[in-house]
């Protein structure tokens, strides 16, 4: 099987197609890559076309995110909109022990089968994988990507807090849209501000804009959506779960993506503690973690200045919640972070949770489904429903299970009010 490496020169000649995952975050990240000089297009297609294309070229037992992501990329190539000699695809790799690190190989195989072996794939990873095809990145770009995760988290978090209550429908999504563009412009201008200050200012302004939106306070049960990273964030992967829940009158809480970034970093020193190994590497990563934690703190502090907003728990708190239930060595897929997210939500007053994963997700047998039982033993109020997503799973069945969870959520809310 042949495939084409992504060489650094392609930065100047090729258009990069990026598959969708978390719409807000990825829009901002696309801006960051554009600021770096890449010609980037974030794909937005969804539905049967990408699903069917994915099923055709990806092994049927592969997980749903692989089907959708690869389907989306190949469907884009098939659309004929792009010059095949001047287009490249981007795929991320974490290097963890779950299947996701192999999406890149699966994509290459799929490209070969679909007759696109000449299209290069760039690997977006920070683990030193695919040295010949890695997406070159400056330090500045790296920092900007971190910022975009933080900004994305704030926009996502505040939008979901405000939108169910806004008086003027669509007001909060308007704020999101405006900010995505503003952040894009700002990053392209390469501001000379120190990172901390930039973060502080923008975080504050975002929160201020949301605080201006007029709202009606009404009773809306809070529902957390946790799980595998793709189906948790991607509306295409979870049949627009967030909108569905909002239509049911819920306020939806999704854990921040920055937690996942910190989780990936933290696993390195954690493994060094468990199994030994490079001490220096552990120290370096611990330092990085400290910087990240500092950034997280700055952003959250700005949100906290507005008493109307609920500020998500810090990564540190998630870690200590997770530790009570699962070993931090469980680091494949979302691993202990998923358990920690659930525990934290239950503890902080959101006992109603949907744990979303692709059908057959290997790490979630343990970190999701098994831990749900353990959490329920400790917190009887926990009302957690695992939902599997798959190209062939019926939406009616998924909604029916979600409604079961909501029945109990509403009952609990009533009892509370009585």
């Amino acid at each position: 099987m042949q495939y084409t490496e992504f060489t650094p020169q392609m930065k100047y000649t090729h258009k990069l197609l990026v598959p969708q995952m978390s719409p807000i975050h990825f829009e901002i990240m696309a801006h960051v890559l554009r600021a770096e000089g890449y010609d980037v297009e974030l794909l937005k297609s969804e539905g049967s076309e990408i699903r069917d294309t994915g099923q055709r070229y990806v092994h049927n037992d592969a997980c749903y995110p692989a089907t959708l992501v690869i389907g989306q990329l190949i469907a884009a190539l098939k659309s004929g909109k792009y010059d095949e000699d001047k287009v490249a695809l981007v795929m991320s790799q974490t290097g963890g022990g779950c299947r996701a690190s192999n999406y890149l190989s699966m994509l290459r195989k799929a490209l070969y089968r679909a007759g696109y072996a000449h299209i290069p794939v760039a690997s977006l990873n920070f683990s030193g994988l695919e040295k010949n095809s890695a997406l070159p990145m400056s330090f500045r770009c790296f920092i900007n990507l971190l910022l975009s995760v933080l900004f994305g988290d704030e926009l996502m978090c505040l939008e979901s807090q405000v939108s169910p209550f806004e008086k003027l429908k669509g007001a909060s999504s308007e704020v999101v849209k405006t900010w995505i563009d503003r952040i894009g412009q700002l990053l392209r201008k390469r501001p000379k501000l120190p990172v901390g200050l930039l973060l502080k200012r923008i975080s504050y302004q975002i929160a201020a804009d949301f605080a201006k939106i007029e709202t009606d306070k009404k009773d809306a049960p809070k529902v957390g959506v946790v799980g595998e990273i793709y189906v948790k964030y991607a509306p295409a992967g979870n049949n627009h779960l967030v909108s569905f829940l909002q239509e049911q009158g819920c306020e939806v809480i999704t854990p921040p993506m920055f937690g996942f970034v910190q989780y990936c970093v933290k696993n390195v020193p954690e493994e060094a503690t468990l199994y030994g190994g490079h001490k220096v590497k552990g120290l370096v990563y611990n330092t990085v973690l400290k910087v990240l934690s500092r950034m997280e703190k700055i952003a959250k502090k700005q949100v906290a200045r507005f008493s109307c907003f609920h500020v998500p728990s810090s990564f540190k708190e998630i870690v200590s919640s997770a530790k009570e239930f699962i070993g931090l060595g469980a680091n494949m897929g979302e691993g202990w972070l998923l358990t920690g997210d659930m525990v934290d939500m239950v503890q902080s007053g959101t006992p109603n949770i949907i744990c979303a994963q692709p059908f057959g997700c290997l790490p979630n047998h343990v970190c999701g489904k098994a831990m749900i039982a353990k959490i329920r033993q400790a917190y009887p109020q926990a009302n957690i429903m695992p939902i599997d997503y798959d190209p062939s799973a019926s939406q009616v069945n998924q909604e029916n299970r979600i409604k079961l969870m909501l029945s109990y959520a509403k009952e609990a809310k009533q009892e509370e009010n009585c």
């Binding site: 099987m1 539905g47 049967s48 069917d52 099923q55 070229y57 092994h59 049927n60 037992d61 592969a62 997980c63 022990g97 299947r99 690190s101 192999n102 890149l104 190989s105 195989k109 089968r113 994988l129 468990l274 199994y275 030994g276 190994g277 699962i326 070993g327 060595g329 469980a330 680091n331 494949m332 897929g333 059908f359 057959g360 997700c361 290997l362 790490p363 979630n364 047998h365 343990v366 970190c367 489904k369 098994a370 831990m371 749900i372 329920r376 033993q377 009887p380 599997d388 190209p391 062939s392 799973a393 019926s394 939406q395 009616v396 069945n397 029916n400 409604k403 079961l404 029945s407 109990y408």
Partner: protein
């Protein structure tokens, strides 16, 4: 007054409560997928009865109720919640509700920690499954219940889902197991599925209440639940109507019936993306029919034909087909009929009829094929039998000499093969998940009171076929409900099902991405292709014209007859039963437990007149009392012997239990040595047997995990009950030992962290469950880690002793691997010296568990081939692979594939456990490596399913293909003879 409507996946229940909460009206009816129409009928009737309609509050519940509720804007309440509302009112003492519906199973804990659970996506179909099984047995569900009452033995039937269970049930019936026993076993498998999926470690105890159709109608099912749970459950009055009553209790919006009934006149808004219709118009269809009518076969119409004839019998999973050939290969006669679970009687009557119809018959040969090839051969004293793939191949090349691809979709199985240079170049057989597609179409149409032909007709001109997925029939069934809500008509669904069956074959079984890869001359056959809708869907999907022989359903029998003709010496007569012998034909079936080894296989013994015998259910040859001339060369036996040496438990002051599961199948020598050296007594759980899985199934927390993981709970239970143990040691190990060759050396996520899942439901403090994160890949840190872990058991351990024990343990591990490799080499050399073929049975260490591999290696040694495993080829150099090579065990697979690719006398069979997502990656890569070396790739998916029928066909097909290939290559070595099932080589 209040009305509650429970719109389920197969039935509608309605209840009207008066103001005192008394039931004043109730109805129960099957909706036959006409959800909207039936609901409207009921509303009309209720409105007529309770004249002053304005006073009725209404709510809808049920798994198919969501769509109806959206359409009519009547309040919806989730059905499990509705159940619990009703239970609170009607059976206040209830602790647990168990409700089985048409599609979903639910368990609700009402007291203590409140909890409600519904089956996962994969384990749907409960009620529908019982219906299907009843139709398989040709009885109603009530009769199935009656049959179960007279059961004497119980078979183990896979309980993951209906599709898997059917893979066990169908062969049982064909082997002649007693219907009574099968009926009872089916009900027990429903119980096991419910317990394994929904108990999740919590005891179903106290006052258990049974609800829903199956539990209401089937007393034996209730008894089975009582038996498995050790309780006495209660079937309350109105057990069918609980959800409906709950909905009525929930109802608080008074509705205007006239308005609602009118709303039901409208159609569901069509909200799905329709697939293109199968045919645009009648003319297109006519042209299609005309084209396919050309695919005729030569027939002999001479009633008084008196030459020699060859009879081919294809004893399939659900039908029996025969073809009678004249000496010059024309078809003289043929039959096609359901086997009614007694293929022997069927075959005998066919033969009798033939003798009667053709008095001058000179029967030259009788050849059987299909699932029941051996049964029929023994019953009729036939001359020969052959594996069905070969029969189909033979028929295909006769029909269309240029054909290069054959696809056969039968009731149960999908078989495909590629033909290149006059021999089979690739074989594709479905795994359990995609089985039963054909018969699903049949039972689905039956449930709608339509004949298969009518159903197919309906599909042909559907305007907007709906996509129903391609995973399996359980998923398809639940997507039907979705489709109705999305506004699909019955015709659209019929067309959608035809398309789904085709997609399943193409994308799941053959896994093609480019239809042109298949070939230019494609032949389709099998009963399912009798449907024009399926045929058309196939052509549309491929964008190609294919050939469907007019005898599409008879090709197996045709091929068998041709095979008989090919091997005939042009003079002798068949040995098969003559007219007179048929008159005295007797057939009896008995079952007995084999006592020759600890497997205690349940044998089904068919006895025929003339002392002929056919035995099935055996995993080995011992009950046949024949001895193979050459001893089996099987590395798995040797490995099991090595591990058995650690079974000897001598209790000491402090004792540790080790479960023989997952990676322990390889690390056992390490851990056993380590603990022994430290002075602990070490107790290893006994190898899994037939009861291990069941004993721990109630602790399973994720029913879609792989079987090797789910069986862990049984081992833990066994160890937990041993009072002499201070601790059970079962470490989490995300990393494996680095054997080089890969980018990393992980274990899979399940092997890595399953101990965490086990610990959730482990409530005992003695023995203590120790499940620390341990890495054997860093020997230095290992000692430090263990000294912390073991402090809980033995505070006085000295670091020096730990180090010494660790050194010995690493050595024991290395020794074990070296021994395995050495024996592997010995087997390879011996096989070569004897001219025997070598099969690398490649999987994971835990595939050594006989409950996991179900004795597959014996199916291979039965073919006189030697079996070695993937760990013979350890420690290869770093190879460039097309996947991210980051798991130790998986790296071995690639090494094994490379080694096989370089050896002419080796082939590889990959074992894959159902649910192993990583093997989606390794399977593709191993296949590519093998194909680069022009080797066939065989993957066997294994799970709880006990029956090896389909797997045996695969293995024999592999050997048959190898034999053909070799003959092509001009070699006349006997290595590749294909040995029939249950017959010992000479």
């Amino acid at each position: 007054m209040r009305l509650g409507l429970d719109v389920g996946s197969t039935t509608i229940k309605a209840v009207v409560l008066d103001d005192q909460g008394q039931i004043v009206y109730r109805t129960y009816t099957r909706h036959k997928s006409q959800v909207k129409e039936k609901t409207r009928e009921i509303l009309t009737e209720v409105s007529a009865r309770f004249g002053d309609e304005k006073k009725l509050a209404v709510a809808i519940t049920g798994s198919a109720g969501l769509g109806v509720s959206e359409l009519s804007k009547i309040d919806f309440v989730q059905e499990v919640y509705a159940d619990s509302l009703a239970a609170k009112r009607l059976v206040p003492k209830a602790d647990v509700l168990i409700e089985l519906g048409g599609e979903d199973a639910k368990v609700v804990f009402l007291t203590g920690l409140k909890d409600a659970r519904m089956n996962g996506t994969c384990a749907g179909d409960t009620g529908a499954f019982i219906d299907q099984m009843a139709s398989l047995l040709k009885v109603s569900t009530e009769e199935l219940n009656d049959l179960a009452k007279a059961a004497t033995t119980r078979y183990v039937i896979a309980s993951r889902c209906g599709v898997f269970a059917k893979s066990d049930v169908q062969p049982l019936l064909n082997q002649g197991a007693k219907r009574e026993d099968v009926a009872s076993s089916i009900l027990y498998s429903v119980v096991n599925q419910t317990v394994a999926g929904l108990a999740q470690g919590r005891k179903l105890k106290g006052q258990v209440v049974y609800l829903g159709g199956p539990l209401t109608f089937l007393s034996e099912l209730r008894k089975a639940f009582d038996d498995v749970l050790g309780i006495e459950g209660l079937l309350p009055e109105d057990s069918l109507y609980f959800a409906a009553i709950g909905a009525a209790l929930y109802a608080n919006t008074i509705v205007d019936f006239k308005e609602k009934i009118e709303l039901f006149q409208q159609n569901f808004a069509s909200t799905y993306e329709a697939l293109p219709p199968l045919f645009e118009n009648q003319a297109q269809y006519d042209a299609f029919v005309k084209r396919h009518q050309k695919a005729q076969v030569l027939r002999c119409l001479d009633i008084d034909y008196d030459g020699f004839v060859h009879l081919g019998i294809d004893c399939g999973s659900t039908t029996l087909k025969t073809v009678l050939l004249s000496e010059d290969g024309r078809i003289l006669d043929s039959t096609y009929a359901p086997n009614d679970t007694n293929p022997v009687e069927m075959a005998v009557s066919v033969l009798k009829d033939l003798y009667q119809k053709y008095p001058n018959l000179k029967l030259a040969s009788v050849t059987s094929t299909g699932y029941g090839e051996q049964l029929i051969k023994q019953a009729l004293n036939g001359d020969d039998s052959l594996v069905e793939t070969m029969a189909h191949y033979r028929a295909a090349v006769e029909f269309e000499p240029e054909c290069d691809f054959v696809i056969d979709i039968g009731g149960q199985d999908i078989k495909c093969f590629k033909i290149a240079d006059g021999s089979i170049s690739d074989i594709f057989l479905n795994e359990a998940c995609s089985s039963g597609c054909g018969s699903f179409l049949a039972t689905f149409s039956e449930a709608l009171d339509l004949s298969p032909a009518q159903f197919s007709r309906l599909a042909l001109f559907a305007k907007q076929p709906v996509m129903l997925g391609s995973r399996c029939t359980v998923f398809m069934n639940s997507l039907v409900k979705q489709a109705q809500r999305d506004g699909a008509t019955l015709a659209d669904i019929a067309a959608g099902l035809a398309i789904s069956v085709v997609k399943n074959a193409l994308y799941k079984v053959i896994r093609t991405t480019n239809p042109k890869e298949l070939g230019a001359h494609i032949l389709v056959q099998g009963g399912t292709f009798a449907s024009d809708a399926v045929l058309r869907a196939f052509e549309l999907e491929l964008n190609l014209e294919v050939t469907r022989p007019e005898i599409a359903g008879l090709m197996g029998a045709y091929g068998a007859a041709l095979y008989g003709k090919d091997n005939w010496d042009h003079k002798s007569l068949s040995n098969a039963l003559s007219v007179h012998e048929l008159d005295g034909f007797t057939h009896s079936r008995t079952t007995s437990r084999c006592g020759l080894c600890e497997n205690h296989c349940l044998l089904t013994i068919n006895r025929f007149a003339g002392d002929r015998l056919y035995l099935s259910g055996n995993r080995c040859e011992r009950p046949l009392a024949k001895k193979p001339t050459q001893p089996a060369l099987d590395l798995t036996v040797y490995k099991r012997q090595l591990l058995a040496e650690y079974q000897n438990y001598v209790p000491k002051q402090i004792n540790v239990g080790l479960p023989l599961v997952l990676n322990f199948f390889e690390t056992l020598p390490f851990w056993h040595t380590f603990f022994t050296e430290l002075g602990f007594g070490v107790c290893v759980s006994s190898p899994s047997d037939g009861t291990t899985y069941a004993s721990g199934q109630a602790d399973v927390l994720s029913d879609t995990a792989c079987y090797p993981a789910k069986i862990v709970h049984g081992h833990i239970r066994q160890l937990a009950s041993d009072e002499s143990l201070a601790a059970i040691f079962y470490p989490c190990m995300p990393y494996n030992i680095d054997e080089g060759g890969g980018e990393n050396h992980y274990n899979c996520p399940v092997v890595a962290t399953y101990p965490e899942a086990v610990a959730v439901n482990y409530q005992k403090s003695h023995p203590l469950l120790l499940y620390p994160y341990i890495g054997l890949h860093q020997p230095k840190k290992f000692v430090q880690q263990m000294s912390v872990v073991l402090k809980k058991l033995q505070p006085k351990l000295h670091k020096r002793d730990l180090q010494k024990a660790a050194d010995k343990a690493y050595k024991a591990y290395d020794d074990y691997l070296a021994k395995v490799q050495k024996e592997g080499q010995r087997i390879i050399e011996e096989a070569r010296s004897q001219g025997r073929h070598i099969i690398v049975l490649a999987g994971r260490p835990y595939h050594l568990d006989e409950q996991v591999n179900h004795g597959i290696s014996r199916l291979i040694t039965k073919q006189n081939a030697a079996v070695v495993t993937e760990d013979c080829f350890l420690f290869g150099e770093k190879q460039k692979h097309q996947v991210l090579n980051q798991w130790t065990y998986h790296n071995r697979l690639y090494n094994a594939a490379l080694a096989v690719g370089q050896s002419e006398d080796m082939d590889l069979v990959q074992l894959v456990s159902f649910g192993c997502g990583l093997d989606a990656i390794t399977g593709d890569e191993v296949k590519e490596i093998l194909q680069r070396h022009n080797k066939l790739y065989t993957q066997l998916k294994i799970d709880e399913i006990v029956n090896l029928g389909a797997i045996e066909i695969r293995i024999r097909s592999l050997f048959a293909a190898l034999a053909k290939k070799q003959r092509k290559g001009g070699k006349q070595n006997a290595i590749y003879r294909v040995y029939p099932a249950n017959e010992i080589h000479p």
